[in-house]
């Protein structure tokens, strides 16, 4: 397949719509095409991209000098990624929104608005998103003049009590506020239900309670420090985010990675995928009171992670991926330990999977619950297992084949039912495919180095990392400043694209089915709140 064979057609359409593309580059952001447009055309470009059938993936801003922002949006079409960039003047930071064409852009644009003070003039929703009440009007934490240590000196800000939630009016309609503190030990997020009896009329999410300022504290780190930080964006996607950050840095530095390291990275990310899918299958069963599967899959996940601890030195595989390679090599004994754990898991799953797949009492709860129709999934640009369960047949490992997957046979399940059962089935299938992939990776494990020494790139070098994490498409942008220090880091967890799906798929379901729907989506709070 020829990459970007569609781009000239898109550019022609831009011309038809009078969207001026000032400059295009295939090399500045390696493997991704970069188009410079005027900020007035920000919305009209989205209209062209939408009409052409692109999927919206991410938006992020970057203050390149004291008076100028670069605003970037990333689109995907047939596995190729396109970044459009517009310069925005600090004195007049107003430009049209892309949300009218891509609903997925709604919250990411509000995040940009909160963090940089860039205003999207025709955005349908002017409320704050990430910023809550922590900063007063006119304080934008990602601007250069905002101090990294914060500007309130330990003063406790007022609770965010007056956020105007969407409300449903009518006889017998009532509101259920849930969270951000929950009865169980889970991450904080607020859910506001409008319900009629037990039927959910509307659900609105309110996130941002675990905002950690990751984008800000990344500034000024060196490459190794950024990889460590990226591994902590979201605890369950440690490898995916660390790899995406390293990929971005390596592309910025034009640095190649030894083949052995690439294979080991893929082994790590597949092990992370399997561990999380195992945990999720058990957790979905637990949310409908089927404790047997919960404990069995919890046990499988635990033994799996103990092997991680023994072989890679960390149960969640943190800090295994470093710029230029991986931090650990495997000897023959460790390879055997890995292979033994794959064989053991395969055997256990043969026994346990049919119980989960064909249990009538589970079927009764999971089939037809929380349906995300393929149409809605397409509208929202949903990725990962949520998308795959709703007819979105997209997997970066296959469709945007990056090393080492470009040499491998990658299978990706797809279903059209879009219910909880389908999302569970995607996970079961992906575990099997991942086990087969790890087998291929270990069988063809090249000899050689596991890491090359890191050479800091010149100031202004930038790169975009893209890969398929266990939740779906992980995107990471890195720009270097002086002396090899990071000037901008933006990790886009797939959760940004799947949280909105939860609000849609819950419509018409009953309130007590929400936990199982939420668990089947299992978007990350930490990865989203940054």
């Amino acid at each position: 397949m020829i990459r970007f064979e569609w781009l000239s057609e898109l550019l022609a359409r831009c011309e038809d719509e009078h969207v001026l593309v000032r400059h295009g580059s295939a090399t500045q952001l390696a493997l991704v095409h970069l188009l410079d447009i005027d900020h007035e055309d920000w919305g009209s470009f989205a209209a062209v991209a939408h009409a052409y059938g692109c999927r919206w993936s991410a938006v992020w801003a970057d203050q390149v000098d004291s008076g100028l922002f670069n605003l970037n949006a990333c689109f995907e079409y047939r596995g190729d990624y396109l970044v459009v960039r517009a310069g925005v003047d600090l004195r007049q930071p107003v430009l049209p929104s892309q949300t009218p064409w891509f609903p997925a852009a709604n919250r990411p644009e509000r995040h940009v608005q909160d963090m940089f003070g860039i205003v999207f003039s025709d955005h349908p929703d002017a409320r704050r998103w990430t910023r809550h009440q922590a900063w007063s009007e006119g304080h934008y934490p990602l601007r250069r003049d905002f101090p990294a240590e914060g500007d309130r000196g330990g003063e406790i800000c007022a609770p965010d009590a007056d956020y105007p939630f969407f409300q449903v009016q009518g006889t017998g309609v009532y509101e259920i506020p849930v969270g951000p503190v929950h009865a169980g030990i889970i991450e904080p997020g607020h859910f506001r239900f409008q319900a009629l009896g037990e039927t959910v009329l509307n659900l609105e999410e309110r996130l941002g309670y675990v905002h950690k300022g990751i984008e800000k504290i990344a500034e000024g780190r060196d490459a190794a420090g950024l990889a460590r930080l990226a591994g902590r964006v979201c605890g369950d996607s440690s490898v995916a985010h660390a790899w995406a950050a390293c990929m971005a840095m390596e592309r910025a530095a034009r640095c190649s990675v030894p083949p052995r390291a690439l294979h080991l990275r893929a082994v790590l990310v597949e092990r992370e995928r399997i561990a999380n899918h195992l945990g999720d299958i058990g957790a979905v069963c637990n949310d409908v009171g089927f404790a047997f599967a919960h404990y069995q899959f919890g046990r499988l996940r635990e033994t799996w992670q103990r092997v991680n601890g023994q072989v890679f030195g960390h149960r969640l595989l943190m800090d295994c991926v470093i710029p230029g390679g991986v931090s650990r090599d495997l000897d023959a004994a460790q390879l055997d330990a890995l292979k033994a754990s794959h064989a053991e898991l395969g055997g256990e799953l043969e026994e346990l999977s049919p119980i989960v797949d064909y249990h009538p009492s589970l079927e009764d709860r999971l089939l037809g619950t929380g349906v995300l129709t393929p149409e809605t999934a397409a509208l929202l640009g949903t990725v990962g297992y949520v998308g795959k369960a709703s007819g979105r047949d997209y997997d970066l490992r296959r469709d945007h084949a990056y090393a080492p997957y470009h040499r491998l046979q990658v299978e990706s399940p797809v279903f059209r039912e879009g219910d909880v059962a389908a999302r569970l089935r995607v996970r079961t299938h992906e575990i099997g495919h991942s086990l087969a992939l790890i087998q291929q990776l270990l069988d063809t494990l090249p000899e050689g180095e596991t890491a090359l020494p890191w050479q800091p790139p010149a100031s202004g070098a930038e790169g975009l990392g893209l890969l398929e994490g266990w939740r779906g498409e992980v995107l990471c942008y890195v720009r270097f400043g002086d002396a090899g220090k990071v000037a901008r880091f933006f990790p886009r967890d797939p959760s940004w694209l799947i949280w909105p799906a939860l609000e849609q798929l819950i419509h018409g379901n009953i309130v007590p089915d929400f936990p199982v729907c939420n668990k089947s989506v299992n978007a990350s709070y930490s990865g989203h709140d940054l």
Binding site: V178, A183, Q296, S361, I510, F514, P515
Partner: protein, 314 residues
């Protein structure tokens, strides 16, 4: 006088052994899920811990909220006093029959539902609404099952019913079989077990019983939990002693009582294990399937009643 002592002893046994029965069900469940179980004494330790903890109360709580745990514990205790445990000749049976027993449960539930709404949280109100939906269907089913027994024995007095069944010997009565099945389903719903409710969940939105007691803490919570355990044991004893009464002490000698105690222990162990198996192989039902489940219980109880009239009368 001796009889009254015995009745008191039976009630105390109920109160003392209820946590043990809950622990036994939990232990069997753990075994079935291939994991090691907490000690059988764990529920007692939990109760002791709760009793020694400070009570934290919402600012909006009314006196009703404080009274409710005591009303629930009291009503459940009185209910336990009515049910023959190891001996059949209860003097309490002369003042209270099985309809009074159902009344005690209703009284406790009524106050619990009020307390759930008292503080004004969304979860409490949701739990109360669900509990009442279930109760409205469970109570008729229970009463019809009980009336079947009453017709068999021509009495609503539990001691008399048991005496009658013992006197008739081992006969297969379709009416009793159906009533047994109906009562078991009602028992599962009333005591908040899987597949109707999940006593071990932490998910506020799925809770029924737990949602109403979310705001309770300290000794209040201890009383409510203890009462829930006693209620589970009452249903267990009702089922084993009415439908399989053989072995229960019919006169008040020490040997008879000892045999009665041993036999009822054994029967409860078997019943508890059955409950654990049921809870392990089933997932929790969708909330709106619970009415269908309870209608099944009512239908079974009605069939029991009809089969008594059609097959057994005359």
């Amino acid at each position: 006088m001796n009889d009254w002592l015995l009745a008191l002893l039976g009630t105390l046994l109920f109160v003392a052994l209820a946590p043990l029965f809950a622990a036994w069900v939990k232990r069997v469940k753990c075994w079935l899920q291939n994991r090691s179980s907490p000690a059988l004494l764990q529920p007692y330790r939990d109760l002791r811990r709760l009793f020694s903890k400070q009570v934290v109360m919402a600012e909006t709580a009314s006196p009703l909220f404080v009274m409710t745990p005591y009303i629930i514990a009291g009503a459940t205790l009185l209910a336990a006093a009515v049910v023959p445990f190891i001996a059949v000749n209860l003097p309490t049976a002369a003042i209270a029959d099985v309809i009074v027993l159902a009344g005690f449960f209703s009284l406790a539930r009524f106050f619990l539902a009020l307390a759930g709404m008292d503080v004004g949280t969304a979860f409490g109100g949701m739990g109360s609404s669900r509990e009442m939906t279930i109760a409205a269907l469970a109570e008729p089913a229970m009463l019809v099952a009980v009336f079947t027994l009453a017709m068999v024995a021509s009495s609503t007095n539990l001691s008399t019913v048991i005496d009658q069944i013992l006197a008739q010997g081992l006969v297969l009565r379709p009416s009793l079989l159906f009533a047994l099945l109906g009562l078991m389903l009602v028992g599962i719903a009333e005591t908040g077990r899987i597949p109707v409710d999940n006593p071990a969940t932490h998910l506020e939105l799925t809770m029924i019983h737990e949602a109403m007691v979310l705001e309770y803490s300290g000794r209040h919570l201890a009383l409510i939990e203890w009462a829930a355990q006693i209620k589970l044991l009452i249903y267990g004893v009702l089922i084993v002693n009415i439908f399989f009464p053989w072995g229960i002490a019919t006169h008040n000698s020490v040997t008879a009582l000892a045999i009665g105690a041993a036999v009822v222990f054994f029967k409860l162990m078997v019943l508890g294990a059955l409950l654990a198996v049921g809870e392990s192989v089933l997932a929790k039902m969708r909330l709106f399937r619970v009415p269908a489940f309870l209608v099944l219980a009512l239908t079974l109880a009605l069939i029991g009643l009809l089969s008594h009239i059609i097959l057994e009368v005359g």
